[in-house]
Structures are given as C-alpha cells and as structure tokens.
C-alpha cells in the first residue's frame, strides 16, 4: 500500500533507431536499497540521466514522492529530495572537501542571494557538512582541496555531498567504479550504515557489492527490466544468468 518513492512508467528514450529505454517501468520502495544491474549497453546510464533530470524521456512518466517530475529540471529535483552521485567523479576540485559538502548544504538552507557575509564562517552549514563527512569517514580530509583526494576518497566525498542535501532518495551511479578492493569494502560499509535512513537506488557493476547490499534487484537489458526480485531470486533466474551473470562468470 505504501506509495513508492520513485516510479518509472512506460519510459521510452531512443537515439535514432536505438531504443535505450524501451517502455521501461519500475518502482523503488521507501527505505530499501534497490539495485539496478545490467550488462554494458543495457541503458543504465540513460536511465540514471532520466531519473536525475539531465535527459528528457521521449515518452512515459517519472514519479518521485507522489509527484510527476518528468519535466522538472535537475536543480529543482534536488529540492524535492533527489540526490545523485556521478559515475565519473564530479566534485569541485578547487574547493576544499568541507566546502564541497557545505555548498550542497547551503542550497538547502535558506537562499543564496546573500552578498556580504563570509560564508566560510557559517556554523550551521559547516556542522551539517562535517556530519556528512563523518558518515563517509572523511572528516580528517575536510581542509584539503578536493582535487587532491585519492580516487576512493572522491567517491566517498560524492556520497557526502549527496547526503548534505538531505535527500529522500540517493541515486548512486556506479559508486564502486574504479575503486580498489579495500575502498569498495569501505563504500559498502558506508552504504550499509545508511540503510533505513535514506532510500538508495544503486546502479552498480560490482556484483559482490550488489548482492551484499540490495534488498531488491532490477535487471536491465536492451532498455527494459527483464527481471526483478530479491538477490536470491535474481541469482537463480536463468534469463538473468544468460543476459548478465554468465558474462560476468566468463570474465
């Protein structure tokens, strides 16, 4: 009966003759960690773009928290409670780690047409930022320029930035991409700790991480959801094995 936090309804997106999202429907229940997997070229990135608002669907509806957000611009989605991380790390390299997170908090704490007071001294923003950094274990890095962080730390920072916006849904676009084993374990632990406090839609290649974290998994192939269920059900699904896991085993 609970209304899903995010629902896609018949979403279509084609680039020329190539249907990247093909009448795609899925829903993410509140409070869960929902994983979205699929082989390369399945349409994951395009789907993320349509949920985040960078890409407009050709047809279909995106519902978020009971509202039709299909035509809502990116920045406004953030204010509705949708936060995302990027597959290719996207931070403000010249800002400090703290300021990267504080600027995200700032967008959600009063307006920013304030011209004279130094923002670096705003306690409320810095406190909120430090809280988010603590969640991802980056407090020691707060005064460093974000550009100087290691790749794994930047991935953590992305999550802290997203958390600082106070989201209802965290859309994570391959957070483990390019990270080492140890860094992956750290990220998994971080997300594990977030369980329940925020709904997470995890788009990820790392199968181990997905099966460790997900309550539900949707499998995408050729722009449609070909299977959805618990990790156990997905693991046993022959269609999924053929489309994806087989490829993974072979690799």
């Amino acid at each position: 009966m609970a209304e899903p936090i995010l629902a896609l309804e018949g979403v279509c997106k084609a680039y020329g003759a190539l249907a990247v999202s093909d009448d795609l429907s899925m829903a993410v229940a509140r409070g869960t960690i929902h994983a979205l997997i699929g082989p390369n070229g399945a349409g994951k990135t395009t789907l993320v773009g349509q949920i985040a608002g960078q890409i407009a669907p050709d047809a279909g509806t995106v519902w978020f928290d009971g509202r039709d957000i299909t035509r809502v611009p990116v920045h406004a989605r953030s204010h509705l409670g949708l936060a995302r991380t990027f597959q290719i790390t996207s931070v403000l390299p010249g800002f400090t780690v703290l300021e990267n997170v504080a600027v995200a908090a700032q967008a959600h704490a009063g307006h920013s047409f304030r011209f004279l007071r130094p923002v670096a001294g705003e306690r409320a923003l810095n406190d909120r930022a430090m809280q988010a950094l603590e969640t991802v274990g980056l407090t020691a890095r707060a005064p460093m320029p974000a550009g100087a962080l290691s790749h794994g730390e930047k991935r953590q920072l992305e999550i802290a930035i997203a958390l600082a916006t106070g989201p209802k849904l965290l859309l994570l676009d391959e957070p483990m991409a390019g990270t080492g084993r140890e860094e992956t374990e750290r990220l998994v632990a971080t997300l594990q700790a977030l369980r329940g406090s925020v709904t997470i839609l995890l788009v990820e290649h790392d199968m181990q991480a997905v099966f460790a974290l997900a309550d539900r998994i949707s499998v995408l192939d050729y722009g449609r959801v070909i299977a959805e269920g618990t990790p156990d059900a997905i693991r046993g699904n022959p269609e999924v094995r053929a489309a994806y896991l087989g490829e993974e085993d072979a690799a």
């Binding site: 953030s78 403000l92 600027v103 011209f115 007071r117 130094p118 923002v119 670096a120 930035i161 600082a164």
Partner: protein
C-alpha cells in the same frame, strides 16, 4: 579555519600604499601629469575589477564589457549636454543604466556558453557601439565634449585633480572591498562553484543561470561607475569607450594581472596602462613590444603578475 579565498596576499596593501603615495610624489615634483595618469589607471582598475568578478570568478568571458563603461560615460555626458551636472543624479543613473543593460543583455547571453557567450557579448557590444555612433544629437562618431565636471551638492569638487584622485581611489577601495566580500559570501560561493563544475552545482540544487545573471548585473553596475568617472576625467565621451578593442584591453588587464584574485585585475590595469604610457613614448607601434611581453607572462607566469609577485614574495609555493 578554512578560507573561501585562500590568498592572504600582501599585494592589496602594497597597491594601496602606492596609490596613497601618488599625490605626495606628484606634489613634490610639482607636476599634475602623474596624478592625472594615476586617476585614469584607477578608473580602469575599477572596470577591470568588475570584469574579474564575472570572468575570473564566474568563467563568463565577456567580450563586451567596455559597453558598460560607455553607458556610464554617456549617462554623465548626456546629462552634461542637458546642463545636468549634479553627480547625485548622473552617477546613480550611470550605474543603474549600465546594470539594467547588463541584466537585459545578460538574460540572453547567459543562455549560451563558451565561444557562443564570447560572440554574443561581442555582438551586443558592437550594437551599443554603433548606436552610440549614430547619436548625432550627442556628437555621433566625434563624441561629446562636456563643459565641466559633475558637481556634488552644488560644488564642482572634481575640478581639483587631487580631490578627484582621492574620490576615484575611494571608489576603487570601496569596489574592491565589496567585490572581496561578494566572492566570500554565499552568493560568491555559488558563482565560484558554477565555474568549477556547473553540472555538480545543478545536481545539488542550484540554478546557475539566476546567480550568473545577478553577478553579470553587479559587474555591469561597477563598470558603469568607472564609466561615469571616466567621462569626468576626460570631460569627453565617445563611442570609442565601448569599442571591442576596449573590451579586449580589459580582458588583457585581468589576464595579465591574474584572474580570480581581484587585486590581480587592479595590478593588471596598472601594468597595462603604465606599459602603454612608457612604450608609446618610444614608438606608436608599442603593441609590437607589448604583445610578446603578454605572451611570455601568460606562458611563464600562470596566474599573472599577482601570482608572480606572491611567489617571489613568499619564497616558495604560490
């Protein structure tokens, strides 16, 4: 404490001391040339400062920034043509007119980015230039001579070169202080964030367009003030004030001094205009010498003269 703007550069103080020393030196040497020249330098420093706000901090490469100077200058000039010399009327009009023009054109320009933004600001600049050229009632191509400087409370205070100098210095310090506060404020942080990564800023909930437009308007107003001062300085207004070459010179000043530091723009204005003055004594083709100098600075001193000075001052890292 984490600073939004890291540099604690000694340059602003050095510049201030130098500017304060000018009237004393000029008084001792008994020549008005120095003070007149320094006044002109500071007027352009205000314009360069305003360009640095949007170019250095906002990555908005405006190639039509001189237009705002021109509008400010024409507001004062046209006022003078109608016997309105009261600076309390013409200066606010100059500032507001330039700001309004910035908001209107910016609303269109800022829908584009990169090379397109440069082109469209240039196009608006040329439109304004030719509009000014066709104002036959106000001198057209030949420009407009003013028969006196602006008055404040009925007194033509700007007629005294030293008083005029102090007023311009006061304007420069005020603009610098305001710009400094601005870039460290909430608003400034958003502007700098958009420069760093526009997509990221949208993702955390900012609509970059609104912030950039306001910054563009503020920069326009500041340049409008410098235009009003320039008209008084030259007692003359002409379309050349808003030519694209002038806009290019402003960009050179900002790049030469160092983008995104504010005092760099002031330093750049000083360096550019003094070099022009000195070199043009020797040859009218002074740009042949200046060009290579600029290239060397851009290649070997990333961050311009201000970085160069800061580095030599503090020994190592800049």
């Amino acid at each position: 404490m984490i600073r939004a703007v890291p540099s604690r550069s000694p340059i602003p103080l050095m510049l201030l001391i130098a500017f304060l020393a000018v009237p004393a030196i000029a008084g001792a040497s008994d020549t008005s040339f120095l003070i007149v020249m320094a006044t002109r330098v500071m007027i352009f420093a205000i314009a360069a400062l305003s360009l640095d706000l949007i170019l250095g901090y906002g990555a908005m490469v405006s190639f039509g920034h001189a237009v705002f100077i021109g509008i400010g200058a024409y507001a004062v000039g046209i006022g003078a043509a109608h016997e309105i010399y009261d600076g309390l009327i013409t200066f606010p009009i100059a500032i507001l007119a330039a700001g309004l023009f910035a908001l209107i054109t910016g609303a269109i320009c800022l829908r584009t980015r990169g090379v397109y933004f440069i082109m469209i600001t240039l196009a608006f600049g040329q439109m304004a230039y030719f509009t000014a050229s066709s104002l036959s009632a106000y001198g057209g191509d030949d420009g407009l001579t003013m028969w006196g400087r602006s008055e404040f409370f009925g007194v033509a205070v700007l007629n005294d070169p030293t008083v005029f100098y102090v007023v311009v210095l006061g304007c420069l310090v005020a603009c610098w202080g305001f710009a400094r506060a601005l870039v460290s404020s909430r608003f400034g942080r958003v502007i700098r964030g958009v420069r760093e990564n526009r997509v990221r800023m949208q993702a955390v909930g900012y609509d970059p367009y609104r912030y950039q437009l306001v910054a563009y308007g503020i920069a326009g107003m500041m340049a409008g003030l410098s235009g009003a001062l320039l008209a008084n300085h030259a007692e003359f207004v002409s379309p050349a004030y808003m030519s694209w070459q002038r806009s290019g010179e402003l960009i050179i000043m900002v790049v030469l001094g160092g983008m995104g530091s504010l005092h760099g723009a002031v330093l750049g204005a000083v360096a550019y205009l003094v070099t022009e003055e000195v070199l043009s004594h020797y040859t009218e083709h002074w740009r042949v010498i200046f060009g290579p100098m600029l290239i060397l600075i851009v290649i070997y001193a990333r961050g311009g003269l201000s970085r160069l000075l800061d580095r030599t001052g503090s020994g190592a890292d800049g």
